[in-house]
Symmetry: C2
Subunit: 326 residues, 2 copies
């Protein structure tokens, strides 16, 4: 099969590799659409020790089951594989399983390829009216759905529910959509990149600004850098909640003094539970997350260019979806 | 009346000052016992811009109402004064009231004095079997009661409830007592000061260690420095909760990468709600917070020495209680 292989810092090759080989309990999936995640970019830049070269990256995929009783079934992939029997798994917190794996991290190859192998339990069937591109968005949307759920659960009932989302990338846009689906009306996205901001504004679905002086009961840091955490701890209201997604910088930024004096809660979030993933997929299928039209499609064979353009900040759309078969 | 006046960095005077003068709705309290808090020490060292000299510090007080229909009533004082009508107050989060005041911070003088004035609503009657020294502990105990309540409420139901308390000062000891009162069995206190640790161990009520390799579902940082926050984010289990009390250093220490990958929640906490204060006082009265025998009594007239001894780390007991009338 053809695959995009991460060979080292800022070096990707599109080449023939052995076909993905499903293990017992796994399905072979013909990948029809696969998104580029910020964490793929992080690995591409050599910043993720968990993703050593050579490696097939990519974990936001949808496609079709090949072979077996479910041959031809259209599915979206929950890329998080867990043990199922530890206390975290039994508590429905599969993302905290000590044995968790994710495709695109050894020992599992990723989905920037024509095929990928995946446990059957990780596949969510996709109805015909939903495109593979939309279905591939289930993964990043689930990240934000999960983060927003934790944030809203932690928010004191006595507070008005309004939200600031820091960052207009896919996770930020997905957070705004998850917040709207959860009934939050007043949602502002901060996006400093002029081109990205203009693109999002042109869609007409989001309130996107360059900066704000307001404070909010819930702040979603959808970037994860020291500067964005500083902004989050500045813009959150007393008694409010910061939800943190992203691994931009390992430490720093939070105004702990203010967070202590004003009783602010900070929640680190990572991926999603299996239930959150299923609920997100269902929300996509039901149209509750909007038209999902904030994507740009490119060929997997030209993905090296896509990574270079993303690196330059020259992509307006929050998400590039790669097509392995064009 | 006699009072201890903070005159500038590490400079306290014991002198005659005008008697406290209750405003409308306030009571005059004859102070019988008043504790020294870490925040008094912080102010004494010139580190608290909210407490400029000259000022009477002290906010952990119990005493007797003087004059009026309740003359002679023994009370402990909730030192936090709030507006009562803002959204935070209406939500029962008086500690987040934007107009909140606390005695020992302008415009309110503190309780390191023979008398203090206080709104009647802030007074909790103390039964005769409880000493003024025990009653004066209501304030620091309420800080930890509140912090522990928020932490346990945030803890996922799927996790075992065990706790690490960082710091064996009054807030740490109070946190351990509040945790035990809440039904948590496995509680470890870390205290690096040999003298303090030996003192707490000698009481027989606490599991106090110099260091630990274990992890815990709940970690209470009862110190609030960068190093203690680093320890907290190291010792908390995946999916667990850090509760943060204290204003030692304004920023730094948290391992945000680990907190994100392992979904750790950090809750800044400050003082207590009015309900938490009342519940803490009742728990003291009911004996649910133990014998409260971890105090050392001194005369207010000799408080300058007490501050110097605390500064040197030469006080074994977690709490010094001052007596204004001896």
């Amino acid at each position: 099969m053809k695959a995009l292989v991460y060979q080292g810092v800022e070096h990707l090759t599109y080449e023939d590799v052995p076909d993905a080989a499903p293990d017992i309990g796994e399905q072979l999936i013909r990948v029809e659409a696969v998104g580029i995640c910020g964490s793929d970019m992080h690995a591409y830049l050599g910043h993720d020790a968990r993703r050593p070269a050579p490696l097939i990256l990519g974990h936001e995929a949808a496609g079709t089951i090949v072979g077996g009783p479910r041959d031809g079934t259209r599915v979206t992939i929950n890329p998080l594989v867990n043990c199922g029997v530890c206390p975290a798994c039994e508590a429905g917190r599969e993302n905290l399983c000590p044995s968790r794996q994710i495709i695109s991290m050894p020992p599992r190859e990723g989905a920037f390829a024509q095929y990928v192998a995946m446990p059957d339990a990780n596949l969510v069937e996709v109805p015909d009216h939903v495109s593979f591109q939309q279905a591939a968005l289930a993964e990043p949307l689930a990240v934000s759905w999960h983060a927003v759920r934790l944030g809203l659960e932690a928010l004191h009932q006595g507070m008005a529910r309004d939200a600031l989302v820091i960052g207009g990338g896919a996770i930020g846009v997905a957070a705004a959509l998850a917040l709207a689906a959860a009934g939050v009306d007043d949602i502002v996205i901060i996006e400093p990149n002029d081109m990205r901001r203009a693109y999002l504004q042109s869609l007409g679905s989001f309130n996107v600004v360059e900066a704000t002086d307001d404070t909010f009961s819930l702040v979603v840091d959808a970037v994860g850098y020291s500067a964005t955490r500083a902004a989050a701890s500045h813009h959150v209201q007393p008694g409010g909640v910061i939800v943190h997604v992203g691994l931009g910088e390992d430490a720093g930024g939070l105004d702990i003094r203010r967070m202590t004096l004003q009783e602010i809660t900070f929640i680190g979030t990572y991926t999603y539970t299996a239930e959150d993933f299923r609920k997100t997929a269902q929300a996509i299928f039901d149209g509750r997350l909007g038209p999902l039209n904030w994507i740009q499609e490119r060929a997997l064979s030209e993905a090296a260019d896509a990574f270079r353009d993303l690196r330059k900040g020259a992509v307006a759309a929050p998400k590039i979806i790669l097509a392995p078969w064009v």
